[in-house]
Structure formats: structure tokens, C-alpha cells
Subunit: 238 residues, 2 copies
Amino acid sequence: MNPAIGAAAAERPAAMAGHEVLAVVLQIRDDRLSVLLWRRARPPFEDRWVLPGGRLGDREGLGESVRRQLAQKVDVRDLTHLEQLETRGEPDRHPYGRMLATAYLGLVPADIDPVIPCDTHWHPASDLPPMGFDHAAMVHSGRRRLRAKLSYTNVGFALAPPEFTMSQLSRYYRAALGHDVAATNLRRVLLRRGQIEETGESVPSGRSGGRPAALFRFRTRRLEITDAFAVLRPPPEG
Amino acid sequence: MNPAIGAAAAERPAAMAGHEVLAVVLQIRDDRLSVLLWRRARPPFEDRWVLPGGRLGDREGLGESVRRQLAQKVDVRDLTHLEQLETRGEPDRHPYGRMLATAYLGLVPADIDPVIPCDTHWHPASDLPPMGFDHAAMVHSGRRRLRAKLSYTNVGFALAPPEFTMSQLSRYYRAALGHDVAATNLRRVLLRRGQIEETGESVPSGRSGGRPAALFRFRTRRLEITDAFAVLRPPPEG
DNA sequence: CCAAAAGTGTTAATGCTACACCCATGC
DNA sequence: GCATGGGTGTAGCATTAACACTTTTGG
């Protein structure tokens, strides 16, 4: 274990070892996939950006801990989805001693704007600021996971507001996937898979005219795998 | 020598807190997907079956620790693939105190028969014996992960020997996926994706006759995603 | 010659993208 | 009317499962 360096070590005396939970909180903001980061005020990695999170409490589970810390520290309570990403435990990942970290992916729908403390900010996930520890790698894991799941699950529900038009939804997909997504085909894919349904309502057109857009909603707001077995699928029943 | 926390913990339960790594080691044996389990000789969960593993050492990383424990404790050194599955940290998952566990998925090719201690056995993954802790859930995670990855990556390499005939390979896939897989189509799918290639050699037919089978090998024996973006794929270059 | 196992050709179905076209609205 | 954005129809493409058929071997 690293010998303590200067004053900072005084805060965390000899036996620093433990487990922390971290959250890659993603949201589509202004048509960009963004991640919530917190600016460190002290060493190590002073002034670098890190993921929100903190030590696992003695009596709490991992997911529970992430939710608590997000609520307490950055006032994020509106996660529509939370799943475990990965655990990192390289002995030298924390300069002051042994510290394991379990990262979660959390998603916030686009219609919410959580009140966050002044030392936390949303950053475009494709243009991260200088980050501390191994947190940048975790953000990349989160992005990859989200991208993958958008194509075989209904995670879209976690990025979108409860009701939305297809052109809105296609913008969310575009932001999350990083490439163009045609609203017209997205509609058919998601309808075919039974992920979304029409609410029956529609949104009046803006001042520039245009046909009113139908409103849709996700049929369920819990994660489901809708497109398993793209290939090597099991033979039909019987 | 105890995979999970043994007697030492029982003697001083108060001080028990820490992190262990566990391995879901899978192999196709006799055309069945099998998992390596270890029979506990003492409480808690005496006589139940558990995953091999043990405490994370002070100076080792998680993956490193799994490899060490598998080599030392069950003499498994021939993993062709190892990846992290999940970390469980419910406060009550271990009756004697707080213990986090990170589970890995390890794969052993079908042509190897590791020498394992007498208290460990291979069990069919579809018919697990009574298991201790939350280890049965971890085995299920491992199976699901393997099944999923067989359809969009080249993990097959980790189940198969270096060279194989297509009917052998289809048996491995059948065992892992749990449903029929036609050798003829499997061949075309894997060739098209560039996962496998012919070695040029072939295997003489058995005493019952039949055309000699061509030998194949995986082009690479490292994990690659060969079929990303089944849907919502990015538009062509430009 | 016949049975057995491997390998090829072909068809039909699926599910997607792209694009042309039609619809409803504001001005 | 006409510009604007939404929605539908349709053609083409890629990929795969199923199955008939051919090839190569042992007895």
C-alpha cells in the first residue's frame, strides 16, 4: 500500500481500504448524450472530474447505495433505469490505498432537469473533460452498454419522457447511438417489437406548420429484451 | 483452501468483512454444458455446492485473483476466456458477516480435462445440485451471458478445441444454447462472419463410413464482436 | 451397391433501410 | 396555395432456416 503523502494522507490514515460505488448517470440534454460529473476539490486528482458516488455503507446493498448517494449528493432521484456495469479492483487504481469500485449505469429521462450542486455538471459523453482515477473508462463502458441495449431491449423508455413524438424519440436515439436514426423506420421497428404504442393524442404543429405529430408511449417502463436471438435462434416450438 | 469463507470466519465473525472472487467455470462435457462446483465441508452451507474462488489478495486485481485461485485450488489453468459477470453485495448474502463477491465467467475448451481435487465436480448447468449462498444465481448469469455472446461474438473459440469438425462444433453450440443447431447452417453463418476458416486438413471417417469431415479453426482466439448492430445500425460510410 | 456422414444449392421467410409519395396543418 | 413536418407504401437488400440433393467414404 502506498505510503501516505503529505496532508491528504492525514484524512485517510493508514488503513484505507474499502469499496465504493460510482454512477455513470446519462441523460440526453440538448440532443447530446451527457454524463453527470463532479469536480474534485482536493487531491488526489484535484480539479479533475470524477463520477458521483462514494463509500458503500455497512448495511446497504450496492444498488441501494448508488441510489442513496445520487439522491444525497447530487439530488438525482429520477432514475428510470439502473444497472450494474463493472467492478474495478486494480490494486493501484486509487493512489492512497486499496479501493474497489463498482460502477452502475443510471439513466434519467430527457424531460427532467435535476437540481444539482454547483460543483457538478453535465458533460457531453463524447467530449469528456480531464477525468480522475479510472472513471473515464467507466463512462465508456456505460456508453457502450447503452448503445448495445438500445438495439435489443426497450431501454429507450429510460431516455424518453412518458409521452413523446417519433421525431423526438429519433433524436434521443440519434444522440445515444451517435448516428442518424430515421424516425419513420424507428417507428416501425419499435411498433413491430411491441415496445411502443400510440396514446391516441397528438401534438399540434408549431408556427411553421406541418402535420400534428402523434404521441407515443413505451408499453412498459421496465427493461425487457425484445430482440434476443438475432441469429442461432431456437427452432420453432415443437 | 476454502473457496468461500471457511472456519476462520466462524471463529471471529465480527471481523469478517471483505471481498471474494468466484468463478463460474463452464465446459462442454459429454455434450452437456457443465459447471465446476466445489462441495463445502463446513458451515455455513455445509454439504452444499458452491463456486470455486476465495478472498481477494491484498495486492492483486480481480481477474488476476480468479486465475490464481483457479490454478491453486482446483488446478484449472487452461481458461480460454475469462470475463467479469457481476458483483453482489447484499448485506446478508453471507450469514457470518459482510462479504462482497465478484463473479467471473471462465471457459475451458472441450478437449481439456483438468485434474481437479476430489471435492470438486462438474455438474450439468441445467441440473444444478443444492447450492449455497447466492451462487446458483451466478451460474445462471454465466449461462445467460454465454448464450447471448455465442450469437454476436466469436466466443465459440473458447468452447472448442483448436481444430474441430463442423459437426463437433454444432454439438458444442447445441449444448451451450440448449437447442438444436444445424451444422450446415452454422458453418455458413460462422464462415460469412469470418469467425472460422478451413485448416485444409480433414478427419477420416469412422468405421460406419461417411465422407471425411473438413477441419476448421477459429481465425482468432480472442473475443471479438462479429455481429454488432443487428438493428438500428449506422448508415453506410459517407 | 448401400448406408452413413459431410457438404452444396436453392428456396422461402424475415426484418430491415431507403426513398418516393401522401396527409394535415399554419400562414 | 404552399411550405413544413408527419405518416404510409413499397421495393430492394441482407441474412438465415429448412430441406433436397450431391459427394465421399467404409463395408
